[in-house]
């Protein structure tokens, strides 16, 4: 195996603010809550943090998609950083900030990087319920959204519904199987004090909930929140001084492509994340069967179907058979999925919640939702831009 940059780093601490819908705190206050918790969790002082990165770059669009910049956070915390960056909206998926931290540490630019993701989409929707739609604030729409918005596909739900319908048509499954993604997430969220929706639902609740964009129903869609999640990524040698047994990033996988990048290939039953899956497994001797727990991106339920197949955790066209009934993906099942509730029930952190939850599981802090003997976790995030991590205990 060649020198892989991800082997030069460890995850040494995590933090998460209180999650609200809406939160009474400002986005910067929430960011500081998460950051201070993560730094303390790692056993570091603020003066140890010499790099900072968030995803994505601060946006003034008003939808609360990225309300806090890395620079503002650095200043507010009084950090003395050598290196600062923001993951691009066009980067390799939501994990761009984690990948950039890996590269900066590998390049010797810094040793302890604060990585964060803050959102204030619930607050934004208080002033305008349409603030999180794709239409934008200008009188006409340009760029990629010009291909969808004039046809009133105003939500990503409309786009991912195309994939769900195509998948159902090709493989013969339906909402009776897909619904278990939502039911499983809610079951786990009930055991996560910081999840936003914690009342369990049944498959009947799922099937009778209102239709959003066929075949996607209410519980197929994740939920906007206010909050912040932070991670500390440290140089491997520096991680030895930290409080927690360091979590290894065994392998990374990333790729771009799909509808959001223009010309669409394929038949809408798979995503280009398949290349991220191939890259991930080419960088490790571990195999898909070694994964103990999986944190799979669920911006919409159908993402979990496409991603588990892309990561080769199930065979092609087999994900819904695997999810059906919920037993195999439950906390006590053969491959527990989204143990903190996922974005569907714990809220839309664009995957940083998934990475946070993977660390919770690998450090054995899950309490009532702890998966026994969790040593290896797959994590993946994104639609259009795709990123995956394989995390393992020391």
């Amino acid at each position: 195996m060649p020198d892989l940059p991800e082997r030069n780093v460890r995850i040494t601490g995590i933090g998460q603010s209180q999650v609200g819908r809406p939160s009474p705190k400002s986005p910067l206050q929430l960011t500081m809550d998460a950051a201070l918790e993560a730094i303390a969790d790692a056993g570091l002082r603020l003066s140890d943090i010499d790099g900072i990165v968030n995803y994505p770059v601060k946006s003034s669009e008003g939808g609360g998609i990225s309300p806090v910049s890395a620079g503002e956070t650095m200043t507010a915390l009084g950090l003395q950083c050598n290196w600062l960056a923001s993951g691009s909206h066009e980067g390799p998926g939501h994990m761009a900030a984690i990948f950039e931290a890996i590269l900066a540490i590998s390049a010797g630019l810094c040793r302890h990087v604060l990585v964060f993701r803050s959102v204030a989409q619930a607050q934004a929707r208080l002033s305008s319920r349409e603030s999180t739609l794709l239409a934008g604030s200008r009188s006409r729409v340009d760029g990629n959204n010009a291909w969808t918005v004039p046809f009133n596909a105003l939500s990503p739900a409309n786009l991912w519904a195309l994939f769900a319908q195509a998948y159902f048509d090709k493989y013969g499954y339906g909402p009776e199987q897909l619904g278990w993604v939502a039911v499983n997430g809610r079951c786990n969220a009930a055991l996560n004090p910081n999840a936003i929706y914690r009342d369990p639902i049944t498959i009947d609740d799922y099937l009778t909930a209102r239709m959003i964009s066929t075949p996607l129903r209410l519980y197929d869609c994740d939920t906007h929140i206010d909050g912040s999640t932070a991670l500390i990524v440290s140089a491997a040698d520096a991680a030895r001084d930290c409080r927690n047994p360091p979590i290894h990033i065994e392998a990374i996988g990333l790729t771009l492509g799909g509808l959001g990048y223009g010309i669409h290939r394929g038949d809408f039953t798979c995503i280009e994340a398949e290349r991220a899956g191939a890259m991930l497994w080419s960088r490790t001797d571990l195999k898909p069967r070694d994964v103990d727990v999986m944190q799979i991106y669920d911006g919409f339920s159908i993402h979990t179907v496409l991603w588990t197949e892309a990561l080769q955790l199930v065979g092609k066209g087999e994900a819904l058979a695997f999810f059906d009934g919920g037993e195999r993906i439950a906390l006590t099942g053969e491959l527990p999925m989204n143990t903190g509730g996922g974005q569907l029930s714990a809220g839309r952190f664009h995957g940083y919640g998934h990475t946070y939850e993977a660390c919770i599981q690998l450090w054995g802090r899950g309490g009532a939702r702890q998966v026994s003997d969790a040593k290896v976790s797959a994590v993946c995030n994104g639609g259009y831009g795709y990123g995956a991590l394989l995390l393992r205990t020391d």
Binding site: V149, N152, A153, L162, P215, I263
Partner: protein, 137 residues
């Protein structure tokens, strides 16, 4: 019935031909003069052979519904009526997709359904929309 609200596309140098093609009732898609391949959305060069010899060319306007969704959520107060948003695979080439609406009764739409283009003019834009091909009705 009131007109369906739509936010119109910006007419950008690369894409304006697509949004105004319907002025003479014909849909046009960018085609490579070197390798003959069609591509959409338009690009400065052919995305396969990279020739700069790409230009709008008329297509039949026929295709099939590759996949679709019936939108039922009123994302804005004016968007009360269900509508179909679909990926139309044009007859000219496999995986040559145009995203659009399919008009008519929403429950009649299915994957594989043959459709043909028609245009809805709004200001300086002729939106290419699709409806069931006559033979399928």
């Amino acid at each position: 019935m009131p007109e369906v609200p739509r936010k119109l596309p910006e007419l950008e140098p690369l894409t304006a031909f697509f949004w105004t093609s319907g002025a003479d009732g014909v849909l046009r898609i960018q085609r490579c003069g070197a390798c003959g391949r069609w591509q959409h959305p338009p690009q400065p060069r052919c995305h396969v052979c990279h020739s700069e010899d790409v230009a709008p060319a008329p297509v039949s306007g026929r295709g099939t519904v590759k996949t679709f969704t019936i939108n039922r959520q009123a994302w804005t107060p004016a968007l009360q009526e269900p509508f179909v948003f679909a990926a139309i695979e044009l007859a000219e080439q496999p995986e040559l997709y145009v995203l659009s609406n399919v008009s008519g009764p929403v429950e009649a739409v299915h994957s594989g359904m043959p459709v043909q283009v028609f245009f809805e003019r709004r200001e300086d834009v002729w939106l290419p929309l699709f409806s069931a091909e006559a033979s399928d009705a």
